[in-house]
Symmetry: C4
Subunit: 202 residues, 4 copies
Amino acid sequence: MNMKENSRIEAFSDGVFAIAITLLVLELKVPPVASVRSISDLWNGLVHLWPSYFAFTLSFGILLVSWVNHHYLFNLLEKSSRPFLYANGFLLFTITFMPFPTALLAEYISTDYAKPAIAFYCFGGVINSIGWNIVLHTLYKPQKLIRSEVSLKMVNTIKRSTQIGFLVYSVATIMAFWFPIAALIMNLLLWIVWISLSITTK
Amino acid sequence: MNMKENSRIEAFSDGVFAIAITLLVLELKVPPVASVRSISDLWNGLVHLWPSYFAFTLSFGILLVSWVNHHYLFNLLEKSSRPFLYANGFLLFTITFMPFPTALLAEYISTDYAKPAIAFYCFGGVINSIGWNIVLHTLYKPQKLIRSEVSLKMVNTIKRSTQIGFLVYSVATIMAFWFPIAALIMNLLLWIVWISLSITTK
Amino acid sequence: MNMKENSRIEAFSDGVFAIAITLLVLELKVPPVASVRSISDLWNGLVHLWPSYFAFTLSFGILLVSWVNHHYLFNLLEKSSRPFLYANGFLLFTITFMPFPTALLAEYISTDYAKPAIAFYCFGGVINSIGWNIVLHTLYKPQKLIRSEVSLKMVNTIKRSTQIGFLVYSVATIMAFWFPIAALIMNLLLWIVWISLSITTK
Amino acid sequence: MNMKENSRIEAFSDGVFAIAITLLVLELKVPPVASVRSISDLWNGLVHLWPSYFAFTLSFGILLVSWVNHHYLFNLLEKSSRPFLYANGFLLFTITFMPFPTALLAEYISTDYAKPAIAFYCFGGVINSIGWNIVLHTLYKPQKLIRSEVSLKMVNTIKRSTQIGFLVYSVATIMAFWFPIAALIMNLLLWIVWISLSITTK
């Protein structure tokens, strides 16, 4: 399987990323007319949607960074394999799943029941980082898919950052049971670290 | 009609697959705030969504395997024809339909009325495998679209596995009236068989 | 603007077609659990969805044929222009609109108020065929975009069939006020005529 | 990063534009059967959806023009950079957000509470034009991404029109608090100006 092959997997993956990232907006619900009795009621309604804006923005950022990383990973490949194809499929599964924990977070973050919602949201990150780890594993087994000019050091850097992602999300999931806000902030920090890393490293 | 032609049909098909697979997530409904009175209520609500997680995962798997197969089939072609174009259109029809039986399964699998839902879900598989059989038929009639270097044996293997798919789904549909769980397990097995076949055969 | 230019407009149009055709499935609503008290209730519920299945199938067919035609039209072009770009944009507008009259048809076709729904559905076809007529107009004005080897006779055949589409949909819209079923059958016939024409003419 | 790189960012962006523009139709809600007691009730119901038709058409137009501009901007580039990638990501964020202010506008434009809805809608335009300004900024910093044959005059024209967009949307947002209709007309005019400019300038 050659480069043309990879470009089709890329195109399908791009489609899934683009749709998942756009479906997030469906969680933003217009305040119902029946609940509004004055202009300031509508303003209040729009302001009280802050958990939805926050969840939308956070998940958009995470999916965008994921897409950028996915995109750069494919640049390193020279061929494909069936195990890689299915590993990538599982990764896409964890991507299409994202709108659900996002909606959950938006619904519960401002209530007294935020802990399960935040733990579940972080757990979505755990599953996603498992997906990444499996994909990286199939780059070498059963056959090497990486272009020969790519340095082992670079691949190891990617692998390590994927393992750190798994660790951080796992810790955040557990922390959410006691310190939900701190768990969310860890999510946010991970995202900022990834963007700044990717901007500085090239 | 040449390869460029095929690549546009592929791109359109990839789009439909990517959207259908991503729309599945819309069936996952956040437990409504009004129904939650404690943190453990929300945990229970999330656990009680297992039929939705199950249906989402099953259908995601089926659509992913379908996409992989679609993708490999196109690699065997050297041209296109109008009948093939419409046969592929009908196949896509059966793919875009999938989110509906998936939602039905999620809604009813844990109720006393699971039988019709499971039978209908399996029937979705019957329609889908009819789509595949028609597509394979148009690869030879009215004109041969398959590349000359592809062996007849390979095409026959694909044809046979498509016919088996039709058979298994038909049997599962009928079985669902008496043994709904067994019918579902047949679906699951078919999916696992297809993945392992595809990984080993190339 | 060259061929590469056209291939991007094609890709964007393909995306819009693929999404509009897949969103149709969202109109299929699972019978609510609360309304079901026995297995036969659920079977009845699934059977009573026939207006939705019908509307889904009809609109899928119309959008698929539209995509096939769009796709063949682009094969005739050698360049693009801004007026063509916006004319194509208006055509896509009429395509993205389709899920709405489809949902309307599904909701009302089995009620006593079918006439407005069918008239509105046919009117969707009128708008769509206006879109096609404008696109065809921009193929020659302000500049010729058609490849020089394409015969004038072929272009005139396309133009005439587009004008006939406009006529048939207009008549169907008016007829729907008195003979709604006949108007729907005209829709169906137009679709069958287009498919069989396109299969025989190449 | 080379042209191939850019074509993937383009493909992802095209996907997001195509999905956002097609999701707008989900805001068109079929009048519920329970609210209809006669054929004229249904006609009235369809006519009373005018705010939805208006919002759908306006936002479709804005997104289409944005896509056309995005598309032409990419034609000027010869390479990509990480900051550009993230700036484009933020621009796409403002595009995927559009269905929400559109739904808000549709729900409230015909009520006594139109002012916040229109102000919010115009504010969506402010955010979008900030996105454009950031993208244009990354075309020169930290490195020049524009093809050398593109004249500085052309780039300055684009920059100026982006700054004017920001200004007009900001003024419209503020005006909406007192003269909501005038603010909406400014939106409409901006759109018409952009189309006519783009048709005449090439």
